[in-house]
Symmetry: C2
Subunit: 326 residues, 2 copies
């Protein structure tokens, strides 16, 4: 992008996010220089969003910028890490001032709210894609991994599931949502709220965690595999988003449950904790006005069993997002 | 990429690069957990290479993997940082086993040689692009920035310039190289040797540095701007790569000099140091068998002046890579 590159970086990206004293050198050199406190470990996560693969070509630039960072923040939340810095790789077919303005506002606003400084990156020409690396901090040994689940532990989910999947199905023409629900669902798809404060509030109480990006079945499956355990889910306990609840009369409960189980992009936390910690967990999350539901229990026997209220087992899809056909 | 994603990561990327004791958690969780020593600052740099923009579509996969990391290592060298970890964002139109095998070998081999561990990343579907973030370590306050140049300091360049630019011109059909020189030039374009060991050997001697990625004029220009100074280059001191030297009889010296000044992709170091340090600099680089040339001097007056041996000033292109027409 030659000279225009420097102008774009200067105008839209050199002062985004929070100002932090631990940035010794930010945007504008060959690299950023960052100070990790001696009593902290560094957590990093990198995600790429590609146009027409991870978001529709019509997605507003502000939502693209917002979401590119939100998925990274959600990973930091899953690790129990406090956000600190981000780097940005932005590939654009052509520089467009109004697109860049909205994109940088979407990304920068979310960064500022979570105390992240934008410290560097790369701006290149090509098919639209955004790569964000987030950097967070945890006390030594304090990162929450996927491998800590033990038989008898409770399985918990924050917030509600399935609205983003409904929005995707609606955008694909596979499901028709009433206008008001379509707005709610699309907002949820484009502007997920990463559970950063919730994750920090849960420090010390949680044995394993993951964020729900590919669907609860797939993501919980990663915890089970990493921990060498199995699980039983109680489907009546699944926190269906209001968008899905409104669809139950039309589609039936089981179809809505499948959408909540297999649909990605919710960016809620799924975590595993000893049931003895449940009262404390509920209290801490209630203080943040964050709903939490116990949706199942870790078992010795490998695999994932989904049980209806009447005791019937639902045959679970393999997991991950599946196209939804109404 | 659903399930195939995990298989690809496991097969090609989970054990690439060096094994490092400071990686508390590597590939396979929501984030990597890394231990920065208390007496070190963290240096990070992110670069994206897009097919048909940064490398021709016909580039061998091994060269793509190699170069995606080499450009990052070159940034760490420019900062005086010791390489530690890398993350990888790989966007691929479709998974292809032989491509992935060669790509991961090209990237992983270079990572291992420089002691870097691959600790995480993202694999997505889309137009071919590679984003690498490198992470390095410097003593507190020890990072070499662009802004330290002072009038009277010498301007130095490692190695030789211009072969990569000649290879680009050759590939574009703008310049015809004899077969043996074409091989040498293309090797230089596809497999640049980042000056990491050289940069570490120069610690404490250098006031400002940058790597030559966009062309010496453009890159030195960044140092001058950041430092608020100007410079005079002595063109007869420019270290022309043997590929360019062989072209002098055909193209003339001045054309070859322009190619060396404006051509990018050399990934040599351009650094500024007090001339009193020159003997020590030469000795340390000679121990690494790395050529070094003093190509000019920092001046108070802003701007960049290029002087021929006979005292004539060459009118300098604005800088950056320009298409070359024979």
């Amino acid at each position: 992008m030659a000279l225009a590159e420097f102008e774009i970086i200067h105008r839209y990206f050199s002062a985004q996010g929070a100002a932090r004293a631990d940035v010794a050198c930010g945007v504008g050199d060959d690299g950023a220089v960052l100070r990790v406190p001696p009593d902290r470990e560094l957590v990093v996560s990198l995600d790429t969003l590609v146009e027409a693969v991870h978001f529709p070509a019509a997605t507003p630039a502000g939502a693209v910028g917002y979401k590119a960072l939100a998925v990274g923040l959600s990973d930091l939340a899953a690790m129990g890490a406090e956000p600190a810095w981000l780097t940005l790789g932005l590939t654009l077919p052509r520089p467009d001032a109004s697109w860049l303005e909205a994109f940088s506002a979407g990304l920068g606003g979310l960064a500022a709210r979570h105390g992240l400084a934008l410290v560097g990156g790369d701006l290149t020409r090509g098919p639209l894609a955004v790569t964000v690396q987030v950097h967070g901090l945890v006390p030594p040994g304090g990162a929450v991994l996927r491998r800590g689940a033990r038989p008898g532990d409770g399985i918990y989910v924050t917030g509600e599931l399935g609205a983003a999947a409904a929005a995707v199905a609606h955008l694909r023409g596979e499901l028709s949502l009433p206008p008001d629900l379509a707005v709610v669902a699309r907002r949820r798809l484009e502007r997920p709220q990463p559970r950063v404060a919730e994750a920090l509030a849960l420090r010390g109480l949680v044995r394993a965690a993951i964020d729900v990006s590919d669907g609860l079945l797939a993501d919980l499956g990663h915890i089970l595999e990493a921990s060498g355990v199995g699980a039983r889910l109680e489907l009546q306990a699944l926190p269906l988003h209001e968008v899905l609840q409104a669809l139950v009369p039309r589609l039936g409960l089981e179809t809505c449950q499948r959408l909540a189980l297999a649909g990605g992009d919710d960016y809620e936390l799924c975590f595993v904790a000893p049931v003895q910690a449940e009262a404390e967990i509920s209290a801490r999350l209630a203080a943040l006005r964050c709903p939490v539901a116990r949706v199942g229990v870790i078992e010795v026997h490998p695999g994932l069993r989904c049980r209806q209220a009447d005791g019937r087992l639902l045959s679970c899809p393999d997991g991950g997002y599946e196209h939804f056909h109404e």
